[in-house]
């Protein structure tokens, strides 16, 4: 396991270094009367969407690991959940920063109360709450935060459905880009880069937690002697 880290780091670095060049070569989406600024803003899509996908993947990992921790009491699952929760917040931040930048150009506003936007924000907030509880909850905070992750996962479809219905009552127009054939390869390349980065960070972060637990255990052992 340990010998995989360095190659994975190099691979992720290489992929992120190559991505911008591939992006420049990708065809622009043809929008009627689009200014160059709008066309350029579409490039952010290659970072925005993969981050969002990785964010949801990470949330899923966190939820499942938390459920395993709650019911089977496996400490390793709890450490994995904590690492995944941090990554949800990190990748979520990328999504929530890149999204409005694009929206300002494409929709003319920074934020829309659209179903997808709102549920992403809510998911991000749930995992922020997870980290807050973990950090400041004191004794027994691990179980509390695990429950938060499980409930948070169950909550996502409800938020999506409720905001979706709410919005169809007050419709707003929006532009949803569809993927042109030339863009598909570049897009999946970016997704892959983000997934590699995610896997690497997750493994490293979980390992750090493992080390912390080990040190804690050793301290206790040394105290006893």
């Amino acid at each position: 396991m340990k010998s995989c880290y360095l190659p994975a780091v190099l691979l992720a670095m290489a992929m992120f270094a190559v991505a911008p060049f591939r992006l420049m070569g990708a065809p622009d989406i043809l929008v009627a009367n689009a200014t160059p600024g709008v066309l350029l803003s579409y490039k952010i899509f290659y970072y925005h969407v993969p981050s969002a996908m990785v964010m949801f993947l990470s949330a899923f990992v966190c939820g499942v690991a938390s459920a395993v921790y709650l019911f089977k009491n496996r400490l390793a699952a709890d450490r994995l959940a904590a690492a995944a929760a941090e990554l949800v917040v990190v990748f979520g931040l990328i999504v929530l920063v890149t999204g409005p930048i694009w929206a300002r150009k494409a929709w003319g506003v920074w934020w829309q109360w659209d179903a997808r936007l709102t549920s992403t924000l809510l998911l991000w907030m749930i995992f922020m709450a997870y980290l807050l509880v973990r950090r400041f909850g004191g004794q027994g905070a691990e179980k509390l935060s695990a429950a938060m992750a499980v409930f948070g996962m169950a909550n996502v479809p409800f938020v999506y459905v409720s905001v979706n219905i709410w919005r169809t009552i007050h419709p707003t127009t929006q532009v949803i880009p569809t993927l042109a054939p030339g863009m598909r390869g570049v897009f999946w390349f970016c997704v892959l880069s983000f997934v590699v980065l995610f896997g690497l960070l997750l493994a490293l972060r979980a390992r750090l937690e493992q080390r912390r637990a080990d040190v804690e255990r050793l301290y206790l052992l040394a105290d006893e002697e």
């Binding site: 749930i126 509880v133 509390l144 409930f151 409800f158 219905i165």
Partner: protein
């Protein structure tokens, strides 16, 4: 047996409350103060903002509910009775259901004061569709309390529980708030949109079923030290 334990726990809570009236008085007062603060913010020249009544009603319910949940469990913590309750030879889910019923009844009493006040101060037609309004309130209160009871019970042991309860509770109960506010707003229109309100009630009922089930399922592992 299950229902009997739930009934006894609920009766115990209500008896304590009827004798001290601590939570009910403070919560009602707090809810009324909340409505007044909103009235100062949202009533211009004697005319309330359109749609404001539904929002104010549900925000007040959510705020008052958080207060009531915190106080109810603070009482248990203060006299170490939650531990005694957990030691009792009764199934944990039954204890949860008893606690939940107690809090739901408490909040319904608060709402019985709050709703007429909103009708009075914000000219909301609360009597035009009383059955649907009551349905929305009951379903919403159950959903809010289902999550709230679980988290408040877990937080009894945690440090900084007063801060943590709203931090955990509000992101999770957003669907309840959305469905409650939109459903109530539909009923408060000049021509009450009953079918819309019924659809929101269906969503609330579904939310209640999922989250009560999830709470019953996780209460046991969460309350085990």
């Amino acid at each position: 047996m299950f229902l009997r334990v739930a009934w006894l726990v609920m009766r115990k809570d209500l008896t304590v409350e009827v004798r001290s009236r601590e939570v009910i008085y403070t919560t009602i007062f707090f809810a009324v103060a909340c409505v007044l603060v909103f009235a100062f913010a949202l009533v211009r020249e004697g005319r309330p903002l359109e749609d404001a009544a539904a929002g104010i009603m549900w925000i007040s319910v959510a705020f008052a509910g958080t207060l009531a949940l915190g106080r109810t469990f603070e009482r248990e913590r203060h006299s170490e009775t939650l531990r005694a309750l957990m030691l009792a030879p009764a199934s944990r889910p039954a204890i949860y259901v008893g606690k939940l019923l107690g809090i739901v009844l408490l909040l319904l009493v608060v709402e019985a004061v709050l709703v007429p006040l909103i009708g009075l101060l914000f000219h909301a037609p609360i009597a035009s569709r009383p059955l649907e309004l009551a349905g929305l309130l009951v379903l919403g209160t159950i959903g809010f309390s289902a999550v709230g009871t679980l988290f408040a019970a877990m937080l009894v042991r945690a440090r900084s529980r007063d801060v943590m309860l709203p931090v955990l509770l509000y992101p999770i109960t957003i669907p309840v708030i959305i469905a409650g506010v939109r459903g109530t707003a539909a009923l408060f229109e000049v021509e009450p949109a009953v079918d819309l309100a019924q659809m929101w009630m269906a969503l609330l009922a579904f939310f209640d079923i999922v989250f009560v089930t999830l709470s019953l399922w996780t209460f046991e592992p969460l309350m085990t030290e």
